[in-house]
């Protein structure tokens, strides 16, 4: 048996212990690889999407890398600690420290190499599937599988460096200990009360304060809170796990009537030991889960914003044109032709918008004709209007203006043409997206419209009115390839000068929608994948800790069974031991996220009128289900292990 064979056999024969973090590292290699496949994909044509997808992937890769580094380091050192007896024995029979380090290095590299290989294998196998999802999200025509050395090189390079770092650093702890300490094993029970009462109260107090602040957040302070609260919550959580929990358990232990109960005595004391041993781990798991919950929740709420997009942009294609625009008929013909080629049925409603000065406000006002508005309303399926001579109606320019204009009533004269009108009421919904036409729009009756003939003061006749072509397409989401030429002329002009001096303007909400939707759903998808890795790792932390303590637990349950513990009682005790370990970090993470969502809700209300409550509940329920499944899985394994004797 050569030295390398020895290292190899150590890993292979300990595979059951290695399994959990082996799985987690394979999974993160796999996800990392798939992201890099997308990162280097030659066929993401759209400039913006490419840039966006690439930067999203890079951020996700960095998060994955750092987290995996951290996770593997923790698992590795816990694992080495659990094996300290074995290392003590090896040193006792004359192994040099140098050789021991080499052994551990070889073992880590073996695990690393195998998980990189398997991870990349599965990553490549699932890449096509991954691309199909991304293609669907980005609404691309095709996103074929490709072969290039780049994603392979990135993944292998990244994870090999990672495993080398782990292998070099995880041996540190062994160097410091004496052989006799290694042989005695790391399992030492410290005294019970190694918590500080002050910090225990501080932990609870800080959490309560943070929750209170988050719950009663208002517009004005929310940003300040967003900076102060997270670190405070993190610190509070840390104290909570390292001090408050032990303090609370000690309070239970002091009350014998609570504590000296059939299952409680063992379960509570066991939980106290496990929580104290793993306080830092639970803290990390809590923070990681909170971040995962939050990012997924936020991203889901972003996508719910896209659901309201249609309401804000009722028209499918918009073309505005000045009277002097020489391209007008060309452009309109092109648009019509493109729509027909795509097989999209549409309604075109042209408007001639006249500008006059209102005697009431001395501001310019854009005037629409009643019959034009009605033709658009018919196309959109919106309510019709009826105006008599001398009557007019506001057309809302934003959602809020519907409310603010409802009860306005104004008597005014369109000064240039001397047409007296009374403006009363508002059209009940948005007809044009804001920003396209002015904010001072009214509709007048056809008769009055005819009377407006004089040019807007200080302007020539052809400058005091403009045309507005409103296309209504029922299948508005499919218009993203319509009018790309005109669109690029407009964006080029804006890019050059910051504003458009072209005699026309074009907007395609279908295209905008597809960009926003693709962006958000890609973000969400990326976030979900990262969150899945994080949760899997968090779960395997718990599993791993259980596994390293299994020998001791097994002996304990053997003793209890000899003393007359029935199988049902054993399961009850195991439940009481495992539930806090699984659900305490989870519960705190849930509380954290719930209160963070409360604050986020305030921010969202300010930015866009979006409620994220239902998404948030969905996300929390989803994660809870995953956690429950994971709990039963681990409990099943654990019970079958402690029972086997």
């Amino acid at each position: 048996m050569t030295f390398r064979q020895f290292a190899y056999r150590n890993v292979i024969r300990n595979r059951r212990i290695y399994a959990a973090f082996f799985m987690a590292s394979i999974f993160s290699v796999m996800v990392f690889f798939m992201y890099s496949m997308l990162l280097f994909h030659p066929k993401i044509e759209d400039e913006f999407l490419r840039e966006f997808a690439a930067s999203g992937m890079i951020v996700a890769e960095i998060i994955l890398y750092i987290f995996t580094l951290f996770f593997l380091f923790y698992s590795m050192s816990a694992f080495l600690q659990a094996r300290s007896k074995e290392f003590g024995l090896l040193l006792q029979i004359g192994m040099e420290k140098k050789q021991l380090n080499r052994l551990i290095f070889l073992e880590s590299m073996l695990i690393g190499a195998v998980s990189i290989a398997i991870g990349i294998f599965f990553g490549y196998a699932f890449s096509k599937f991954f691309f199909m999802i991304v293609r669907e999200l980005l609404q691309l025509d095709s996103l074929p599988l490709y072969v290039s050395y780049k994603p392979f090189a990135l993944t292998i390079g990244a994870f090999f460096s990672l495993f080398i770092i782990i292998a070099m650093t995880s041996v540190v702890f062994i160097r410091e200990q004496k052989i006799i300490e290694l042989i005695r094993g790391y399992w030492k029970t410290d005294e019970l009360q190694n918590y500080s009462t002050v910090k225990a109260y501080l932990g609870i107090g800080m959490l309560l304060f943070v929750y209170g602040a988050a719950a009663f957040t208002s517009k004005n302070v929310v940003l300040a809170f967003a900076i102060v609260l997270p670190p405070l919550a993190a610190l509070g959580t840390y104290f909570f796990f390292t001090h408050s929990v032990l303090f609370l358990l000690h309070q239970i232990r002091k009350r014998k009537s609570l504590y000296w109960r059939p299952y409680r005595l063992i379960a509570v004391s066991e939980v106290a030991v496990k929580l104290r041993e793993n306080a830092r781990m639970y803290f990390i798991v809590t923070i990681v889960s909170t971040v995962a919950f939050l990012s997924v929740g936020t991203l889901t709420s972003l996508s719910s914003y896209t659901g309201q997009f249609r309401q804000l942009n009722p028209l499918s294609l918009i073309y505005t044109s000045e009277m002097t625009n020489p391209y007008e008929s060309d452009h309109i013909t092109t648009l019509r032709k493109e729509l027909e080629e795509q097989g999209l049925s549409y309604t075109l409603v042209p408007f001639l918008i006249k500008q006059q000065t209102s005697s009431f406000s001395q501001n310019s006002v854009d005037i629409l004709r009643e019959s034009d508005v009605n033709s658009l309303a018919i196309a959109l399926g919106s309510p019709l209007i009826e105006l008599d001579t001398g009557e007019a109606m506001f057309i809302p320019y934003s959602e809020e203006s519907v409310d603010s204009l409802t009860n306005r009533e104004i008597q005014t004269v369109l000064e240039e043409s001397n047409v007296p009108i009374q403006i009363r009421g508002v059209y009940p919904q948005m007809l044009f997206p804001s920003m396209i036409i002015g904010s001072n729009i009214i509709a007048v009756s056809d008769e009055d419209y005819q009377l407006i003939v004089e040019p807007f003061s200080g302007k020539r006749k052809q400058d005091s009115s403009y045309k507005f072509f409103a296309f209504h397409v029922a299948e508005w989401e499919r218009t993203k390839s319509i009018g790309l030429d005109i669109e690029s002329q407009v964006t080029d002009a804006i890019d050059d000068d910051g504003f458009t001096n072209l005699p026309f303007y074009f907007e395609n909400p279908g295209l905008n929608y597809s960009v926003i939707r693709a962006t958000f759903s890609l973000l969400l998808f990326t976030g979900l994948m990262v969150a899945a890795v994080l949760l899997l790792a968090a779960g395997s932390f718990v599993y791993f800790k259980l596994y390293t303590g299994l020998e001791r637990d097994k002996r304990q349950f053997d003793l209890l069974k000899r003393m007359g513990l029935t199988d049902q009682e054993l399961i009850k005790i195991v439940n009481r031991q495992l539930i806090p370990q699984f659900f305490l970090p989870w519960g705190i993470a849930m509380l954290h996220s719930a209160f963070s969502f409360l604050s986020l809700q305030v921010i969202w209300r300010n930015l866009a009128e979006v409620s994220i409550l239902s998404e948030m509940i969905l996300v929390l329920i989803g994660f809870t289900l995953i956690q429950v499944v994971y709990y039963f899985l681990i409990r099943w394994r654990y019970i079958s292990h402690v029972r086997a004797s």
Binding site: K188, T189, L192, K256, W260, R261, M563, G564, L565, Q568
Partner: protein, 257 residues
């Protein structure tokens, strides 16, 4: 009155190598007796103890404990039987590390859901008897071996079982602590008429008993009863042990002064 009756008990471990750990062993233990089982390594002492502890079952033959037959009981009934009728003392104490001495003592009572007041009064009673008052709040890793074994004995006694099974209770103790523990066991045996079956290597420990049963290769070898003086009993035990011809290392070299 018989509390334990072993009748032609045989235990065979199947496996790659079939091993007959106990072979047609028969003996009886009377109520209130303090019995030692001795034998060289591999003679089946631990297997015997496991059979009597009802955590293992015999291949053939019958075991009767306090009129009950373990092989006829369900797993749950067995657990309840062990919980109420049996008390265990181990070589390495097997105290639960995360519990204090006091909590370790009440463990069997909490399993059975005894009222708190009752538990408290039992603690008071046994802490005094076993001299544990000073260390009730301590954890097992903070007390000496002798204190640990006294705690373990307290745990074995606190639910007032009929029958105590001790597996090398002095194996991990120095001579002073050993003597304390043995005197304690014989005091318990005399005061409460509790039956004790003790498996041991140590002839000194055995010399505290009323009777010593010797087994060899899973079979009954000999038994001797105590007499007036412990010294002479001890010598007779040594004589049988030399007859047994076990490995010399199995015999304790300690002699009484």
């Amino acid at each position: 009155m018989t509390i334990l009756k072993m009748d032609e008990v045989t235990k065979v471990y199947e496996g790659k190598v079939t091993h007959r750990a106990i072979n047609q062993l028969s003996f009886e233990v009377n109520k209130g007796e303090f019995v030692a089982v001795m034998g060289p390594s591999g003679s089946g002492k631990t297997t015997l103890l496991n059979l009597i502890s009802t955590i293992d079952s015999a291949t053939s033959g019958t075991i009767t404990i306090d009129g009950q037959r373990p092989e006829e009981m369900t797993k749950t009934e067995l657990a309840l039987f062990r919980r109420r009728q049996l008390g265990f003392v181990f070589q390495d104490f097997n105290l639960l590390q995360m519990l204090t001495v006091e909590e370790n003592l009440v463990l069997p009572l909490t399993l059975d859901g005894i009222p708190i007041d009752e538990m408290k009064s039992r603690i008071k009673e046994f802490a005094k008897k076993l001299d544990l008052n000073q260390i009730l709040e301590k954890r097992p890793n903070e007390i000496s071996g002798g204190q640990s074994q006294r705690t373990a004995i307290g745990r074995a006694l606190i639910h007032k079982p009929n029958f105590i099974l001790a597996d090398e209770p002095t194996g991990n103790l120095d001579s002073k602590a050993s003597r304390d523990v043995l005197e304690l066991l014989s005091k318990v045996n005399q005061d409460q008429r509790t039956t004790i079956l003790m498996v041991t290597h140590d002839p000194i420990a055995a010399s505290y008993c009323d009777r010593v049963i010797f087994i060899k290769d899973g079979e009954f070898f000999n038994e001797i009863y105590s007499d007036e003086r412990r010294q002479t009993f001890f010598q007779r035990i040594l004589n049988v042990l030399s007859l047994l011809g076990g490995n010399v290392n199995d015999l304790s070299t300690i002699r009484l002064p």
